[in-house]
């Protein structure tokens, strides 16, 4: 007799916990060939707003951690993901219908991307900041700082895990906290990634993962006054120009949609997109 499997309930990842949607709504997730996989939570406006509150509360601790510490935590995510490759491969094969080899390649790429961004945590500032030779007896130094809470619409095409990681990791490097709307049709690896984050020293609230409808949630996040930056990388099929207009109300920083296989490809620019440059002047006494 074959053993009967125990399926997992996929919920949201908010403030370090795994709640259901407060709305009680779910939607069916089916495999590539139509088989029922799970009922994913369909996050509501309140869930999205709770996620922003959680991200805001976590900001001080994450942005205030040393760069070395942040780098180690991001690297820890890679370590834990490496140990759970098989689980992610299974989920990806089921939901995306790709070959096992392709799924492994995607997971490995996601792991390597965490490692790559982990290394930037204590370096981006050395590359993007600098001393400025102002004319006068002044010490003058420009340093990038995290911009704050970043709301992300994860890529809706391509690899579901890799797309999410590619969008979330660069925002975390400098110390921002994140609210991310996962791939709508294939959200399972996103919630499993939440389980990895929850056990890899990432403080609760630093990453908040919403599943459900990006079309529904994006306007709420775009117009939210406590969101500092909006990454529309996966919003190409939405009315993203209106989202950008909504974001303009509080001058939220916006990254426009990217399409194709190179969407959210690793770059220092993605790290710096979510930073503010602060320039410090200090007088030098005359001796």
């Amino acid at each position: 007799m074959t053993r009967l499997a125990v399926p997992k309930t996929y919920k949201l990842y908010l403030g370090g916990k795994f709640p259901r949607s407060e709305s009680g709504r779910v939607y069916e997730i089916r495999s590539h060939d139509g088989e029922f996989l799970a009922n994913a939570a369909k996050a509501s406006r309140k869930d999205a707003r709770d996620a922003v509150v959680a991200a805001r509360s976590a900001l001080g601790g994450w942005a205030g951690a040393t760069a070395y510490n942040r780098g180690q935590v991001l690297y820890r995510i890679a370590e834990l993901l490496e140990g759970r490759r098989a689980q992610f491969v299974t989920e990806i094969v089921q939901s995306e219908g790709v070959s096992t080899a392709a799924a492994f390649a995607q997971v490995d790429e996601a792991i390597d991307r965490w490692v790559w961004y982990a290394g930037w945590a204590d370096k981006y500032l050395q590359v993007a900041g600098n001393a400025n030779p102002v004319s006068g007896p002044y010490f003058n130094l420009s340093v990038p700082e995290p911009t704050g809470v970043v709301a992300i619409i994860a890529p809706q095409t391509g690899g579901s895990l890799l797309g999410l990681v590619s969008a979330v990791a660069p925002a975390l490097v400098s110390g921002n906290t994140v609210v991310v709307v996962a791939n709508e049709a294939m959200p399972l690896s996103a919630i499993s990634l939440g389980e990895v984050l929850a056990t890899s020293d990432v403080p609760g609230g630093v990453v908040n993962i919403l599943t459900g409808s990006p079309a529904e949630m994006a306007p709420w996040l775009a117009s939210h006054a406590d969101v500092n930056a909006l990454d529309l990388v996966g919003a190409g099929d939405l009315d993203w120009i209106h989202l950008e207009i909504d974001a303009a109300e509080t001058l939220t920083r916006v990254l426009q949609p990217e399409n194709g296989p190179d969407a959210a490809s690793p770059s220092l620019a993605r790290v710096l997109a979510f930073t503010e440059t602060k320039t410090i002047w200090h007088t030098k006494g005359l001796i």
């Binding site: 982990a118 370096k123 590359v127 200090h282 001796i287």
Partner: protein
Amino acid sequence: MSFLDYAPAPESQAVLNLRGDYGLFIDGEFVAGRGEPFQSINPATEKQIAMIAHADAADVDAAVAAARRAYDKTWSKLSGSDRGKYLFRIARLVQERARELAVAETLDNGKPIKESRDVDVPLVAAWFFYYAGWADKLDHAGVGPTPSARGVAAQVIPWNFPLLMLAWKIAPALAAGNTVVLKPAETTSLTALLFAEILQQADLPAGVVNIVTGGRDTGKALVGHPGVNLVAFTGSTGAGRAIARSVAGTDKKVILELGGKAANIVFDDAPIDQAIEGIVNGIFFNQGHVCCAGSRLLVQESIHDDVIDRLKARLSTLRLGDPMDKNTDIGAINSAEQLARIRELTDIGEQEGAERWSPDCVLPEAGFWFRPTIFTNVSTSHRIARDEVFGPVLSVLTFRTPAEAIAKANNTPYGLSAGIWTEKGSRMLAVADKLRAGVIWANTFNRFDPASPFGGYKESGYGREGGRHGLAAYLKPAAGRAAARTVTAAPAASIAPAVASPAAEKTPVSRKKAAK
């Protein structure tokens, strides 16, 4: 037992599992040396810890050949991200075995366990972690696009921070894509050999790092070897001068971290309690065996007596003794040779008329010990104000104006570091501008971080270790740029074989090893 006495709190040595004798680490294996093995002793007890192999010129030759093979066949063909992954592994293994390494370091070097445990070893891990992240980001290192490695690096390190100096050398070298032959100091080989075991655990390809133990002859054979492309040395200015002379006319890149005689300048508006702690940390940290130690205290005249009184009171509470005790502040001097030099220079200090003071503390019978010592009434011409003592000895001088402080601070052939104590930011920055030293600490002292470049002006050497700048010496700018700057090298320089370009960023690498 006075209120200052503590019950003994020795760190357990049970975490250590040492062998009776250690070989050289060449091509991924421990091998016997051809020279006469020597003993490594615990400077706190003078008892033997282990016998260490002595590499002669033929051993050095084998190590350089192994490093060259590893460079040509393996390391230069790996992607930057795979080099980085090896360095991350090393960082994690150091973290995992941190306590063991700290105990071994204290046993072999004589430094207090609280320093090896809380400073040396955590920094070692941090150094590997930091440079691991650079390995696949070298385009951003500041030497132009697509830089390449130099090849085989010869690295010679001192005994004051044995494992930390190893990390300063090896981490950036490997991140930049070089392979390494490293020679630890004769009196402190132990942690380098434990580190070799860590490299085996990390499955680092054979020959990428080779460790040759031995004496001065070993070091000389290594830096003079025609097969090395780069020499990185930390040690005395005398030895650094000899190395600079010996590589003249070759195309070997050189980094030298040499001696220092740092001024620690205390203005009358300094936060005085912090300053006292900083002065003590500046010169008595690691028994003063620190090239950047704040060995010249420059105190503004108006607060001189107050500072000296407070210093004496603070020094009287320092605990000198068993380095393995968790409460020990001052451990053992690393060797009889170094103790003799400290004694000689302090005797000269007295003869030249400076006033000597040490707290009253009992020295253990066995081992090498020296009481923390302050000299007052020191003038700039005294030997103890000019020569690097490299021991727990502070020379106190005074000044009246900032200009005088700057003149006195710069009145040395060295230029490694300096300290400034003042609550006034504008004064601090103005003084820092005028100091000819590579590291300036303001209202702190002896801070080290892998993200922060370290290195000296003048006769304290050249090149920087740490930070983005610490990669520069280990990288060769892309050919187009280099050609414009290269002068025709002397014929002797062409002995080193041409190095292959490690540009093969896309070489597929088996995941078998990475997935272990």
